[in-house]
């Protein structure tokens, strides 16, 4: 992650609106508008180049989604083919292409905008404060809980003398233990927040 491209420095609100606008345009495009699609793809290519995100990374992540999207596109392609007069194969190609543009755009947005900046932008654009605060809090503890889960899994593995993975019961036990630890931690965090004057309204330095 390079924190220094021209796109990194842009106001997060501008980036968010532009990216979502791009996705909406792609979604609203009539199937078979190949020329417009090509234009949007060219714009996206310029943005990808400017963002400095590695194309290999985009490709590998995109591949993971393409399978599911292709399956769903194949399922819904028939009537769309009949209505638009395109062949079903072309309809699938069109859905896949448009979806790829949307996904790549969102990947680039996530790459050039740190989550906190994105969250601040959403809040200033009207996301309810309660939700924004919850999202910030969630993001903060995602890593803590993931590490906790890793430690518990390792401890379990160390005592499980089987070649195969952990059993369903053990895995469910891990989740239950994680749940109870998460709620205990929530209690302590809430106490720490209250100790510093928390009353339910988040006051932040920016905006």
């Amino acid at each position: 992650m390079s924190p220094d491209g021209p796109l990194h420095r842009l106001d997060a609100r501008v980036k968010l609106i532009a990216a979502v606008g791009f996705v909406v345009a792609v979604v609203a495009l009539r199937p078979g508008s190949w020329r417009l699609l090509g234009g949007l793809a060219a714009i996206l290519a310029v943005i990808v180049a400017a963002s400095g995100v590695s194309p290999m990374r985009l490709l590998t992540r995109w591949l993971g989604f393409a399978v599911v999207v292709g399956f769903l596109a194949a399922l819904t392609s028939r009537s769309l083919a009949e209505r638009t007069g395109l062949s079903p194969a072309l309809v699938v190609a069109d859905l896949l292409a448009r979806n790829s543009l949307a996904i790549v755009m969102m990947m680039v947005l996530a790459h050039v905008t740190p989550w906190t900046k994105l969250l601040g932008a959403m809040r200033r654009l009207g996301l309810p404060a309660a939700l924004a605060t919850t999202l910030a809090f969630m993001y903060r503890y995602l890593f803590v809980l993931r590490d906790e889960l890793d430690r518990m899994t390792t401890a379990r593995r160390a005592r499980s003398f089987r070649r195969t993975g952990l059993s369903f019961g053990t895995l469910a036990g891990l989740i239950a233990a994680l749940l109870s630890r998460a709620l205990e931690r929530e209690e302590r965090v809430f106490e720490a927040m209250t100790a510093r004057g928390w009353d339910g309204t988040l006051r932040t330095l920016d905006d």
Partner: protein, 273 residues
């Protein structure tokens, strides 16, 4: 409670503090304690003695908590009844939690340090200034914009301290401040704590630290105070410490090695008297 000018109210006073856990177990059983302004006191005792529970009471955090445990209102900070003045008391008492991840919930270090000042009603500019000052005091102003989960444990601990100091407390309550710190981080953190001119109550198992920065020690076990006095005396009392799941600090134990009737075997077994 009546106070006269000659004898100002103690910074912290507990009068017969009793608290039951939600499941009915007794956590604190009639604890009486007074800590004078500016005093540094250690709170020691085995796991489950009630140390953390006691600390949470100093901030009014426990009695109202989910209305589970029952507790009598018997904590005063600077003469203020905690149960009735929770908001005012929270301005006076700064609580440092053991696990920095319990305390650092914001997405950036600066935001987290500014959290308390903003809640106390400071404007954004003032809160930012205070936060940066406090970060400078713990030597972390360069980390202001970073997310807390990218910092080391010791750094996170210092950010927590900055966040507490930003509220300008007159009483600092620390829960295991040195736990999980490597020796250099511990040393650094101790120096920081020792340099703060406020009333301190420190719950800990780190008895070497107690010898270093707390002139007074309170020994708590099973919710009762079993000893209260000068740290050197209490921490030199092997049988007392052992009876309550503690161990004489190495520095004191080593000095007792000089005594002629104490063999090395006795020393290893902890029977040095």
């Amino acid at each position: 409670m009546a106070t006269n000018d000659a004898d100002p109210a103690p910074a912290v006073r507990l009068g017969g503090l009793t608290y039951d856990y939600p499941d009915g177990r007794r956590a604190l059983d009639g604890v009486d304690l007074a800590i004078a302004s500016g005093e540094s006191t250690a709170l020691v005792g085995p796991n489950g003695a009630g140390k953390s529970t006691l600390l949470l009471h100093l901030n009014g955090l426990l009695p109202g908590r989910r209305k589970w445990g029952r507790s009598n209102p018997s904590v005063w900070i600077d003469g203020l009844d905690v149960a009735r003045n929770a908001a005012a008391v929270r301005r006076k008492v700064g609580l440092l939690f053991q696990d920095p991840d319990d305390q650092l919930f914001s997405t950036s270090v600066l935001e987290d340090v500014a959290f308390g000042p903003l809640n106390l009603g400071l404007g954004k500019a003032d809160a930012r200034r205070v936060a940066l000052e406090c970060l400078a005091r713990v030597d972390l102003e360069h980390a202001a914009e970073r997310p807390p989960h990218h910092l080391s444990f010791g750094e996170r601990k210092r950010v927590c301290l900055a966040g507490v100091l930003a509220c300008e407390p007159s009483v600092l309550v620390l829960d295991e401040p040195t736990a999980n710190l490597d020796p250099r981080a511990r040393r650094r953190f101790l120096a920081l704590i020792a340099s703060l001119p406020v009333t301190k109550l420190i719950a800990t198992h780190d008895l070497e630290m107690v010898l270093e920065i707390c002139p007074r020690t309170v020994l708590l076990d099973a919710g009762r105070i079993v000893a209260d006095g000068p740290s050197r005396e209490i921490l030199d009392d092997g049988p007392l410490l052992e009876a309550h799941g503690l161990e004489k600090p190495l520095s004191l134990a080593l000095s007792s090695l000089d005594r002629p009737h104490c063999t090395f075997r006795d020393f290893v077994n902890g029977k040095d008297e």
